[in-house]
């Protein structure tokens, strides 16, 4: 949690937390593991009413942020959702809505009304099998056809792919990288749910075989403009992942500290053993430093200052330390920590997925060293 929230932001945060605690406590999170979509549509609309899908949408299109720095406000929600291991298509919907608000045509922007209402879910069809998370790895092709394009390629790990009403598909054209907004029921499009380590959020494979799209489906301008859009999508996504993991790590540390007070061995609480206290001190350090890294990256993105570097700094730090913290908390719990019944693995699963998608900490370290000219 940030230490510099305004009263409005604090109210927004508190509302999000209460909503999650009331509507999606862990028992409900577990129930929804068996829900085909991972969440009921009515719940997502209720979340949207709290502003979870409107922050990145310009006011002129029915959205609006709390503070005038939408990405910062968005990390407040991501942090709370991480604390609650809360499912829902939060990340992809906001990432794509942000792009539509910035680069979409008026027709595409008209969709945002439904997004703000929680009626329309958006998917980000970007990553490809065997590829990595860079724009260079995109091989899906958009071939000119009937005045528009025909899209062919395969996308994997598309969050909320099977729940989305529209997918933002990245493909190569003769004019360079391009993005297309494709309705989920387009002919030639096959969406197959994938299995995931994360039991809460849903992922899908999206197969495109000559999917016909008309010229109006293109979002923005191919080439460098689209590359900039893609880079922005990646930055927003990574910052949200990191905020989610920092929130999860803070929550896991809280209940594990409590466990250390409650659990007695050899006649005294675990919290009284110096060997364990020192490990808790390290974990507190990782948790606070993770929060600091997230805040730094969100600020950099909001201010448009050194945002590429600070995104990678955040992923490099938070990716590893949040997950290691959780493993150590499992260790603190002992046997119960590796059971299905205990909630720890729900956090660890989700954090591990966030850690790996869109660049591992190691990948981002390589990026940083390249930024230093190495």
């Amino acid at each position: 949690m940030r230490f510099d929230l305004s009263d409005d932001q604090e109210f927004f945060r508190e509302t999000a937390r209460r909503f999650i605690e009331a509507e999606v406590p862990i028992s409900v999170v577990r129930e929804w593991h068996d829900h085909p979509d991972g969440y009921p549509q009515s719940w997502w609309q209720a979340a949207a009413e709290l502003g979870w899908t409107s922050l990145m949408v310009p006011e002129s299109l029915g959205g609006g942020s709390i503070s005038g720095r939408p990405i910062v406000d968005l990390t407040i929600v991501a942090d709370e959702m991480g604390r609650g291991v809360t499912p829902g298509p939060f990340m992809p919907t906001n990432v794509v809505a942000d792009t539509l608000g910035r680069s979409g045509s008026p027709d595409q922007q008209a969709l945002l009304e439904g997004v703000v209402a929680g009626e329309v879910v958006l998917g980000w069809a970007f990553c490809e099998p065997g590829g990595d998370w860079t724009a260079d790895s995109v091989t899906a092709a958009a071939v000119p056809s009937n005045g528009g394009h025909a899209l062919t390629g395969t996308k994997v790990g598309v969050e909320a792919g099977a729940q989305a009403h529209h997918l933002l598909v990245t493909a190569r054209t003769q004019d360079g990288l391009a993005q297309f907004l494709v309705p989920a029921d387009a002919p030639g499009l096959t969406i197959t749910p994938q299995e995931s380590l994360d039991l809460g959020r849903r992922f899908a494979e999206v197969r495109l075989v000559g999917v016909p799209v008309d010229p109006e489906a293109m979002v923005g301008t191919p080439g460098t403009a689209t590359e900039a859009d893609v880079e922005r999508q990646r930055q927003v996504m990574v910052v949200l992942q990191c905020a989610d993991n920092a929130g999860s790590a803070a929550k896991v540390l809280e209940f594990t500290v409590q466990y250390a007070f409650d659990r007695y061995s050899f006649g005294r609480p675990l919290a009284s053993y110096q060997a364990l206290k020192h490990r808790f001190a390290d974990m507190k350090l990782w948790s606070e430093a993770s929060q600091a890294a997230v805040d730094g990256a969100a600020d950099a993105l909001a201010d448009g200052e050194d945002e590429v570097r600070m995104m990678s700094v955040a992923k490099s730090y938070v990716g590893d330390h949040s997950v290691e913290l959780m493993h150590d908390c499992v260790q603190m719990h002992g046997g119960i920590g590796v059971t299905y019944e205990h909630d720890l693995h729900l956090y660890l699963r989700r954090a591990t997925v966030n850690r790996g998608l869109f660049g591992t900490p190691g990948d981002h370290r390589v990026c940083l060293s390249k930024m230093m000219g190495y």
Partner: protein, 417 residues
């Protein structure tokens, strides 16, 4: 005074101030040699004269210790102003010996607990560059257990007679005064029988022995006191209440080490540990066929540098806003120790063989030597183990370590030797 005040300052005023400082430094301070920079500890005369001279220059320009009150020789400016001076001064030689402990640790303690006479007498003398201070706090019998001090100060009318030994003071032989913690009462538990004194260093009965460190530097000293006579007016705070003073001294030490003090002045630039960009350049120049081998670790060093800055800012803000308790400074101290040792390790590896075996006249061996003594960053200024105790007990609220000496009159406490 639980925390520092970081008043918000008008950005336009700060921008103007930055220009002013830059223009003044261009005219008045010696530029740092980018290849072979002067290190403030390299003053090898007996008084650290160059540090004193540079401090005087800052004072004459009105840029010395600007967060100190005007009435004692400062400028009553904000931490933001001091930070601007620190940023701009990275390109210039700075009198960093004055920064820690004189201005950032001893200084705020005298400001807080000193009598008006003490403040008038001593504070302007630091800011002008006339007098350097050190701390006589740690003892050979134990560093972390500061309240277990064995050095004794026995009252004799209006004087105290000091006997014992202190250790780990920085360049005591080149300095003028010390803040010293000594035991004035042995009949009460350890925290209740201590007193803080101002001690003139070059004084009958005080012997100073430099300690040679792993890199053969002789920055630190041990002092021996043999019937040293100190007037009672040199007591800081109350007699037998030295622990209150010492606790604040520790607070300021953590702040100074954690880069969260408005009273530090100028920053060291340590080639082997701070220069991530420099290391990238070294790796690039010498990487040859192995280019790429160090990328992940260099990227991680960059990560740690940035996160350390962000964490410092978060902790300051957190303490200010009441989100974190004051001891949260220990988070920054712990991060610093861990990141510094990691960076020394990476620096040594990037240098490769040349850090291990080198030709006469080359200086790459410094990377190897600093690696060998890298744990210094986890020991000096309070060990990382103490930081972990503080974090777990005073931030997370876990039970305190059992203390065999608690509530026991100090003369009944078992001790080594």
């Amino acid at each position: 005074m639980d925390d520092f005040v970081y008043a918000d300052t008008d950005p336009a005023e700060l921008a103007r101030y930055r220009e002013e400082v830059q223009a003044w430094m261009n005219e008045n301070m010696p530029r740092r040699d980018p290849v072979n920079p002067w290190h403030p500890t390299q003053d090898d005369d007996e008084r650290s004269s160059r540090n004193r001279e540079l401090q005087r220059r800052l004072y004459d320009g009105g840029y010395a210790a600007v967060c100190y009150p005007r009435e004692y020789g400062g400028q009553s400016l904000t931490a933001a102003h001091q930070k601007i001076i620190d940023d701009v001064s990275m390109d210039f030689d700075m009198p960093i010996l004055f920064s820690v402990p004189t201005l950032s640790i001893c200084g705020p303690v005298v400001l807080e607990f000193g009598t008006e006479e003490q403040k008038q007498r001593y504070i302007p003398a630091w800011i002008r560059g006339d007098e350097l201070w050190v701390q006589f706090i740690s003892e050979p019998s134990g560093g972390s257990d500061m309240a277990g001090a064995l050095t004794r100060a026995d009252r004799d009318g209006e004087e105290f007679i000091i006997n014992g030994s202190k250790i780990w003071s920085t360049f005591a032989q080149r300095s003028d005064y010390a803040l010293m913690l000594a035991r004035t009462n042995w009949e009460v538990p350890k925290h209740r029988g201590l007193t803080m004194f101002i001690v003139p260093i070059h004084h009958p009965g005080i012997e100073i022995h430099p300690i040679q460190m792993v890199d053969r530097s002789e920055e630190f000293c041990q002092e021996f006191f043999n019937d040293v006579v100190i007037p009672a007016e040199n007591v800081v705070g109350e007699v037998d209440d030295g622990w209150t003073v010492a606790s604040r001294l520790l607070f300021h030490e953590r702040a100074a080490v954690g880069n969260a003090s408005p009273y530090t002045q100028g920053r060291h630039r340590n080639r082997t540990a701070d220069g991530v960009e420099d290391l990238a350049a070294i790796a690039r120049d010498h990487g040859g066929a192995d280019i790429g081998r160090h990328r992940q670790r260099l990227g991680y060093m960059e990560t740690l540098s940035r996160v350390e800055e962000l964490l410092s800012a978060r902790v300051v803000r957190g303490i200010e806003g009441g989100f974190l308790p004051a001891p949260a400074g220990s988070l920054v101290r712990l991060f610093h120790g861990l990141s510094r040792t990691e960076r020394q390790t990476v620096a040594m590896e990037v240098q490769g063989d040349r850090a291990l075996v080198w030709n006469e006249g080359e200086d790459t061996g410094a990377f190897g030597t600093e690696y060998v003594q890298r744990q210094q960053a986890c020991i000096g200024g309070g060990t990382t183990e103490m930081a972990r105790n503080i974090i777990s007990e005073r931030i997370l609220g876990m039970p305190r370590e059992p203390a065999a000496d608690r509530d026991l009159p100090f003369n009944q406490v078992p001790r080594s030797g």
